[in-house]
């Protein structure tokens, strides 16, 4: 059974959406970022997306870029990420690595899969890898029983929604808006349309929504139509603000309440 699908299914059984939080490893340093991930779990995150710092994060907005740049310069790499994976698993959440493709390719795809599985990681989310180019990763993740999460977007055709979800295991990441990561005042209604279209072809695969969610109200809004709510930039901002682990824990508590509330449902 896929660890991600299992955890998201457990949330669904509780009548709520899962909370998926993102933080990159290495900001402001490796140990502090891992402590913040632990706090994220203590506050109520079900899944932690553990970000691999990358020099050219083409899908990320200015907030995440700002946190990742110093980590890249400090030489933070997959060995540090694997430590974070172990820490998140120990804290009781499901760890998934979020990485642009080149760091994984450079590390070695097969070696990455083996080491990630050994560290207790559930799998990986790959924002710039489409299934069409993922032959080696599909094979390695299959061999090591890892989940693999690809993205769908509002611009995806129905045919691509079908082929991409067929290649996913764990969940499918619905990028709610056309654009880069960052908080937005409102969650685009394109998100709900995309979830409906994706569900139509995804079978039992959970659909989680990311890009733009930053507070409990938005989390509740998305939880009304998605299986999981993905929050990244808002967490990173807590780290940049210097509120650190306490700020991250507080945000998790707010978001965890949000995914239990659901928009329009009295809490």
């Amino acid at each position: 059974m896929s660890p991600l699908a299992h955890r998201i299914g457990a949330a669904r059984a509780e009548g709520r959406a899962a909370l998926v939080g993102y933080l990159p490893v290495g900001y402001p340093d490796v140990n502090t970022s891992i402590a913040a991930m632990t706090a994220m779990v203590e506050g109520g995150a079900d899944v932690v997306e553990i970000g691999v710092p990358y020099s050219d994060p083409g899908m990320d907005g200015p907030v995440i870029q700002q946190a990742v740049e110093p980590a890249v310069r400090a030489g933070v790499g997959l060995r540090d990420v694997l430590r974070a994976v172990e820490a998140v698993a120990a804290a009781g959440a499901v760890p998934a690595v979020m990485s642009y493709w080149n760091p994984i390719e450079r590390y070695g795809v097969e070696r990455f899969a083996a080491d990630l599985a050994a560290a207790g990681g559930a799998g990986a989310i790959t924002p710039d890898l489409i299934p069409d180019e993922a032959g080696e990763w599909l094979a390695a993740s299959e061999e090591h029983g890892l989940d693999r999460v690809f993205l769908v977007a509002p611009s995806s055709t129905d045919a691509r929604l079908a082929s991409t979800t067929a290649a996913c295991r764990g969940f499918v990441y619905a990028a709610s808006t056309m654009g880069v990561t960052g908080t937005r005042a409102t969650v685009s209604d394109a998100a709900e349309r995309l979830v409906v279209r994706t569900r139509a072809v995804a079978g039992d695969l959970p659909v989680c929504v990311g890009l733009g969610v930053s507070d409990g109200d938005q989390a509740a809004e998305v939880a009304a139509f998605a299986d999981g709510v993905i929050v990244g930039t808002a967490y990173v901002r807590r780290m940049l603000d210097g509120t650190g682990a306490d700020g991250v824990r507080a945000l998790s508590e707010e978001l965890a309440a949000g995914v239990r509330r659901r928009a329009g449902v009295p809490s």
């Binding site: 710092p53 990358y54 020099s55 050219d56 994060p57 083409g58 899908m59 907005g61 200015p62 870029q65 740049e69 890249v72 030489g75 933070v76 790499g77 997959l78 493709w101 080149n102 760091p103 994984i104 390719e105 450079r106 590390y107 924002p127 710039d128 890898l129 489409i130 069409d132 180019e133 690809f150 993205l151 769908v152 977007a153 509002p154 611009s155 995806s156 055709t157 691509r160 991409t164 990028a175 056309m178 654009g179 880069v180």
Partner: protein
């Protein structure tokens, strides 16, 4: 690779389109699409429109008319005998892309992509630029065709290429200095992709080189191959034979692919790409991607790139903004791996010596990018003559060099390098060291010419 041994090369006047990439944009293991899913629909739309357009007689006629009447094609081939005296006895022909409207080969590609933008019904174009030549070309085409235009340019490059920033603004384009990362071309491309993924419904990305996700490498090649198609015919006509080697500078690699493509089936013609060696490949401060890099994924395609053990892109260094890029087009990686083309580094000092030589011996101020190809010709000519081969029947070796752009934009950088003006108040420009060292394997007499003296020795 394909061969065409049935007929002598001279009879093959219209070279064929290469059999690569495959339908999904792969040149062997290189190329492909490594982009967020959100861009796939736009790339599919672009691919489909381009595939229809490139065989559409109406488009081809419109494109040819623009190239003739607006760009000024065909560009001439010029023999440079006084410069060639420094090339060991080889003869040197220059393909004069510097004489194109806007001053470089970049206009060839941009006119094609601007026509494509109109065809798919988009009103806005974005572009990245390093030296500013592609940005100027895109701003020019946008003005010509009534499109709105935004150009992303690394802040560092806006300083060293201030003239081109002013040109773009005069042409009505918005120029956005990019302040992330190394503040050069690589980061400008990241920002342009972020703009594109956000505004893809209204906006087309006019990519400037043969890199990026499919279909850009193949499409830009097809728009640039006119350089080699013309040059091959011109050399055959004036010499009755093909050149022994074709040389071009390689940053992303569009001018090199442009002149190489027609010659790829001509097995007897060496194809030589000159990469920016910066302070020297051994110093780590360079942009010689194939010479000093390893295969990986950057900016949407698999190709050689400069990267560290963690897969992070290493910042490149070159005196030439247009070559200061840590990646390279996937077709070059492929041509390298199958052994059809060879890639060599040229240091800043070697390039600037060749730059000064061409100015003083031929009255042509080249772009510093193109000066790397000239330096490559100096070295290759000496090698060929020393080895006693390259020529035919006792003739000297014949080298065809793509002079991809003119040096107006580089006057300030060159003046600083050579210490023209007030020597007491010279500050080294970006990519230059205050104590420039002679370079291993330097050209001509065996000594690289120190910056401030290069002009006088040439």
């Amino acid at each position: 690779m394909t061969t065409s041994a049935v007929h002598p090369p001279e009879e093959r006047l219209e070279p064929a389109r290469p059999t690569w990439p495959d339908a999904t944009g792969h040149f062997g293991v290189f190329g492909g699409r490594f982009v967020p899913e959100a861009l796939i629909a736009a790339l599919d739309e672009l691919t489909e429109a381009y595939e229809a357009m490139r065989v559409d007689p109406a488009f081809l006629a419109e494109f040819a008319a623009l190239q003739r009447d607006y760009t000024g094609r065909p560009s001439p081939v010029t023999e440079v005998p006084r410069f060639a005296e420094h090339c060991g006895g080889a003869r040197v022909l220059l393909k004069r892309e510097d004489l194109n409207h806007t001053g470089s080969h970049k206009i060839n590609n941009v006119l094609g992509q601007a026509l494509l933008t109109k065809r798919i019904g988009k009103q806005r174009v974005i572009a990245e630029t390093g030296a500013g030549q592609h940005g100027v070309a895109t701003a020019t085409a946008a003005a010509l065709m009534g499109l709105s235009c935004t150009v992303y340019m690394g802040e560092e490059d806006t300083r060293r290429q201030a003239l081109n920033v002013a040109r773009m603004r005069l042409l009505g384009a918005e120029v956005i200095p990019v302040t992330t990362g190394s503040r050069t071309l690589k980061d400008a491309i990241n920002e342009a992709f972020r703009d594109w993924v956000t505004n893809v419904e209204t906006t087309n990305y006019v990519f400037g080189t043969v890199a990026g996700p499919h279909p850009f490498p193949a499409m830009v090649r097809d728009f640039q191959r006119v350089i080699g198609d013309e040059a091959r015919g011109q050399v055959l006509e004036r010499e009755g034979r093909l050149p022994d080697a074709v040389l071009a500078c390689v940053g992303g690699g569009s001018n090199a692919i442009g002149i190489f493509t027609a010659f790829v089936p001509d097995d007897g013609v060496r194809l030589v790409g000159l990469e920016a060696g910066g302070d020297g490949v051994g110093t780590g401060r360079h942009a010689a991607t194939i010479t000093g890099g390893a295969p990986g994924v950057l900016h949407g395609a698999r190709s050689y790139l400069l990267q560290d053990d963690n897969g992070q892109t290493i910042e490149s260094h070159s005196i030439s903004a247009g070559l200061d890029y840590p990646g390279v087009g996937p077709e070059h990686s492929y041509l390298h791996d199958i052994g059809r083309a060879e890639y060599r580094p040229v240091t800043d000092a070697e390039a600037m010596e060749a730059f000064a030589l061409l100015c003083r011996t031929e009255g042509i101020i080249p772009a510093i990018e193109s000066a790397h190809a000239l330096a490559g010709a100096m070295r290759l000519g000496q090698e060929l003559v020393a080895q006693g081969d390259g020529g035919r029947g006792g003739e000297p070796p014949l080298l065809l060099v793509n002079l991809s752009g003119r040096g107006d934009k580089d006057v300030e950088t060159a003046s600083r390098w050579f210490g023209l003006g007030d020597r007491e108040h010279v500050e080294p420009g970006a990519g230059m060291d205050t104590d420039q060292q002679p370079t291993d394997g330097a050209v001509t007499s065996g000594d690289a010419v120190r910056g401030q003296d290069a002009g006088s020795q040439a």
